[in-house]
Amino acid sequence: MGNILAIAKRELRNYFATPVGWLSLCGYILLTGFFFTIFLGFYSEQAATMGFDPYGPAEMNVDEYLVSPFFGNANIILLFLCPALTMRLFSEDRKAKSLELLLTSPISTAEIVLGKYLGALSFVLVLFLGTLHYPTLLFWMGDPDPGIMASCYLSWTMMTACFMAVGLMASSFTENQMVAMILAFGILLMFWLLGWAEGSLGSTGFQGSLKDVLSFVSLVNRTEDMQKGLIHTKDLVYFGSFVAFFLFVTHQRVEAYRWR
């Protein structure tokens, strides 16, 4: 465990030792700010119009019309960000030959893989801290549901955990960081588009069965319920298995360095 933490700490510090970390932090806050402003504007416009509707509800639900759409749409930032954050994890280490230090130390491959994974994942959690002013504003100005808010952050974390596992795996396959990023992005985009494809299919016959398969595999669709405040055990199991699978492949790949 100590070794995992030591490697994780080193990886986390690396993000802040280079411009990568600070740029990502700025970019992430800027883009989430952009999304938040758009949805806030949309929400207040709707709310204002609704005030004139005698048959409409007394007020618009802030969770349904602002919190969920904001968190759901900001997912896409992670789709682009995660491959950029994970691309160097193994690629750079191999190219600079520094991986040799890890491989000749009395530690296991699992410790190396988990250390790098947790280090990178914790960096994104730091990024999430940079978004806490949005909920703070909402709690100050309005009355959102804290449970839903927490559930939304959980959905981001789960999603990132999956993205980072894919990125780590891609990075373990090549010494070229660019290739690692493109590979990771390609895989993630595929999972992303599966969700879209599922939405366009009919619900009967072959299309129905395909729809079931796709909706099972799709990563993004599983965050939708979570962003409405519904946490299903099956979704958590899915995310857990997803991460475990890609970390396992990474582990096998790193083991193979010793055999090539």
């Binding site: 030591a6 690396n14 040799e100 230090l101 010793r258 090539r260």
Partner: protein, 301 residues
């Protein structure tokens, strides 16, 4: 004691190391000698546990490197040809990080002692990326030394250093070798081996072509190169070629001649033949270079 038994490593169709067997007794300093691509790095990486062998075994005091990697790696310090540095870290943080990975109990104590030991104290607070090549090499040595291993494996520790840095690193390594450590050192510069090692293992094309104490190798194996310079070189070339045991005579500039002989000492005959031509200089010291050339050429033939 390190024991390498019938070690082979194949990358697809290429064979990097073939049926290599040798032993290194505790406390001995052994030099790995061979041209580029001879399999030195591959062998060292296998011993250090960062590469798996296709066949064969490596044991340290009976413990197999592949079966008990944790125990064995704790006792080995490995400096690869390119030092495995995280250049974004400060020297002190890097050495501490290495100490933690190597399973040292007193991380700060070991790190500070190592930093002093290898002469990194003046730059301990600096980022590795900003250091000179000599200091980087020291960081690499620190990483290999921080857990005070019994075995040190050094792959081309002098490559890419300028002459002053070279002397500094050589002195440091000599000191380390004297502390009852088993040291395996690879290089293609023969002088380094002659200066430090008690024994050499000579590799060529993945196979061992010779091993033994340097003094013994020079006695048994290899011809020697004799360099002489005379006042009147005319006619001497033919005279020298006629001496039995002389393989090749090469005339140089301004009366210098170098000749290569078969195994066996024929210095006396050569000197006697050269005196009538006005012999000015004569040197017939047998160097590791001659043995090396002899052995590797023999292996190719």
């Amino acid at each position: 004691m390190i024991k390498v038994e019938k070690l082979s490593k194949r990358y697809g169709a290429t064979t990097a190391v073939q049926e290599l067997s040798f032993q290194v007794p505790k406390g001995e300093v052994v030099g790995f000698l061979g041209p580029n691509g001879a399999g030195k790095t591959t062998t060292m990486r296998i011993i250090a546990g960062s590469l798996g062998a296709t066949e064969g075994r490596v044991t340290l005091d009976g413990q197999d490197v592949f079966e008990n990697p944790r125990e064995v790696k704790r006792r080995i310090g490995y400096l690869p040809e390119v030092p495995p540095l995280y250049t974004d870290m400060k020297v002190r943080d890097y050495v501490r990080f290495a100490a933690r990975l190597k399973g040292v109990d007193d991380i700060n104590g070991a790190a500070e002692a190592t930093i002093d030991r290898v002469g990194l104290a003046p730059v301990a607070h600096r980022i590795i990326d900003h250091l000179s090549k000599g200091f980087r090499q020291r960081c690499g040595v620190a990483q290999a030394l921080v857990h005070n291993p019994e075995v040190l494996i050094l792959d081309e520790p002098y490559s890419g250093l300028d002459p002053a840095q070279r002397v500094e690193i050589r002195d440091l390594l000599k000191e380390l070798a004297q502390e009852d450590r088993t040291v395996i050192l690879s290089t293609h510069v023969l002088g380094d081996i002659e200066a430090m090692c008690e024994r050499v293992v000579i590799l060529n094309n993945g196979k061992m072509v010779g091993q033994g104490p340097i003094s013994e190798l020079t006695k048994v194996l290899g011809g020697r190169t004799i360099n002489l310079s005379v006042v009147r070189p005319e006619g001497l070339l033919d005279t020298l070629s006629a001496i039995p045991g002389v393989l090749k005579v090469t005339p140089g500039e301004a009366g210098t001649i170098s000749l290569f002989t078969e195994p066996g000492d024929i210095r006396e005959q050569v000197a006697a033949a050269a005196v009538p031509y006005g012999l000015l200089e004569f040197s017939g010291r047998q160097s590791l270079e001659d043995i090396f050339l002899h052995l590797t050429q023999q292996a190719e033939a």
